[in-house]
Amino acid sequence: MKCSDVERVLPELLDGAPDGAYQTEFENHLKSCPACSDLVSDMALISGESRQLAATDEPPARVWVRIAAELRAEGLIREPGSQPARPTLVPASTRPRWAPSAWWLAPVAAALFAAGSYVVSHKPAPQVAQQQAPAASQTPATSAPSVAPAIPEVANASPVARAAAKVAPASVPASPPLQVARKSAPPTVVGPASSADDQQFLREVSTRAPSMRATYESQLQAVNSDIRETQEYVDRNPGDADARQHLMDAYEQKALLYQIALDHIQ
């Protein structure tokens, strides 16, 4: 029996239906293969522990919502409406948690959170990047190459972070190439308040909870103002770790606003 064979029969064995024919081979292989032995013991532990989980230990529905939002943001699952035959990971509830026209709020909220994480997790611009900026700003034609490195950096980030970059492009200026690009390009910074997602957010609220539209709009403006204010400070003080943490906090606040709206306008 090979390692691949062990992986193939492992689920059956864990389910408690060992076949005498390959049970002996299986056990012999485990004696000679530490990797498979570890795998089997781990799986057996997980399988055994999971059976002990009572129904009351299941996480609340909002946890599933968040997980689903992350998975959607990463493109791992799609909306049930787009593929009716495909099962959804969101458990059935007493009422629909995902309104057809508001599902997009969840990945946006997740993306906003990721944007904050991205901002905080990236170190301040190294000196060399700072030195390239003047040259780039003097010759717009050279700004394209200096922007180029930014693309792979974002591309190499997690899918959620890439989504975040789409949602709030101005929110990730802390990485060196983007900082160069900002300095070299005309002031076309798209502030959080003017993002298309915010506009769609307010349209949804207007349609589904018109009485709360003004409230959500004022809250959104306040959160965006906080993000802008902190972002500007971080730009001026890129080494201030605490300010960067506040920037992430501000993005978390915006993600929270989206999540509350998602719950409200369902």
């Binding site: 129904a55 009351t56 609340p60 809250q219 906090d249 509350i260």
Partner: protein, 296 residues
């Protein structure tokens, strides 16, 4: 109309211009209108085992929860009109209550207020965008979510408390031995006699007030963007304090013993140090709000 004297009303009805049919129509309309907005009470009883999981979800309306029998959940739903219905189901030890609007419902006619008596050890999930949420004298985990909801949590022991609101204020009183996570976008957060291994509160523009002793051995993190943070503690508090406001001012009236910190020490914007045996860690952070640590 109700404030008019009877004679005046009678006189108007008997005016030649007002026909009997008009009066009947008005009375009928009034009756139908009152029927449509009739408030009804519905009671539900569920039998549960230990550590039941109870969720209540309403679009508009308050939810109040207090302890009851150890094996029963009593729910009283007060519906403001016939334009809203209550769905309830029990799946083993899990109970889900939710109100849903019928066509034509709005914030007024769609309101449902809930009053619950639950086993003290139950896990509780409440959600109401518009309405007051309150829970008291429980020992299980409590999760509350609301937009404009005013949230009150009192006397929770050994349970985790998670609350989030948009601009509704959050008040947590007499809570111990659990993880407490409170977040609001613009609502104020009040914590009185709250302690535990982890106590976190964050608000964007709202203020955070803490009145307590920071327990013994817990981790306390209070964060605002522009809201002020104020902590009122006894003189013999035992904690390791870290406070920093990026743009705001900080103040304390304790003789703190200095120590090393990763924060940049800027006079008037940060303070660090310990009192007593430094049993708990306390971190107070604001971007532009004022931070005050006051002796009780």
């Amino acid at each position: 109309m109700a404030s008019l004297p009877r004679a005046s009303v009678r006189a108007r009805i008997h005016q030649p211009g007002i026909q009997h049919t008009t009066v009947v129509t008005l009375l009928l309309a009034t009756y139908l209108s009152s029927a449509a907005f009739a408030q009804t009470r519905k009671n539900y009883t569920f039998t549960v085992g230990p550590h039941a999981n109870i969720s209540v979800d309403t679009q508009v309306g308050g939810i109040s929860v207090r302890p009851g029998a150890s094996d029963q959940v009593l729910v009283t739903a007060i519906l403001k009109s016939d334009n809203v219905e209550v769905d309830q189901q029990q799946m083993g030890n899990r109970i889900e209550i939710a109100s849903h609007w019928l066509p034509g419902a709005d914030d007024k006619t769609g309101q449902v207020d809930y009053e619950l008596q639950i086993p003290p050890d139950a896990t509780l999930n409440l959600r109401s965008p518009l309405g007051a949420l309150s829970a008291e004298r429980l020992q299980g985990d409590v999760t509350m979510e609301g937009a404009d909801a005013v949230v009150n949590v009192r006397s929770i022991d050994n349970g985790h408390v998670h609350v989030r609101t948009m601009r509704g204020p959050i008040t947590v009183t007499d809570v111990s031995n659990g993880h407490i996570e409170l977040s609001s976008i613009s609502g104020d957060i009040h914590l009185k006699s709250v302690s535990g291994p982890l106590v976190q509160a964050s608000s964007g523009s709202g203020k955070i007030f803490y009145d307590g002793d920071f327990g013994s051995g817990g981790e306390y993190k209070f964060t605002t963007h522009k809201g002020d943070i104020e902590a009122l503690v006894p003189a013999d508090v035992s904690a390791d304090f870290r406070a920093h406001s990026v743009l705001g001012r900080v103040h304390h009236d304790f003789p703190l013993q200095a120590r090393h910190t990763r924060f940049s020490t800027e006079a008037g914007r940060s303070f660090f140090g310990t009192t007593g045996k430094a049993a708990s860690e306390v971190e107070l952070r604001s971007f532009s709000g004022r931070i005050r640590l006051k002796r009780r």
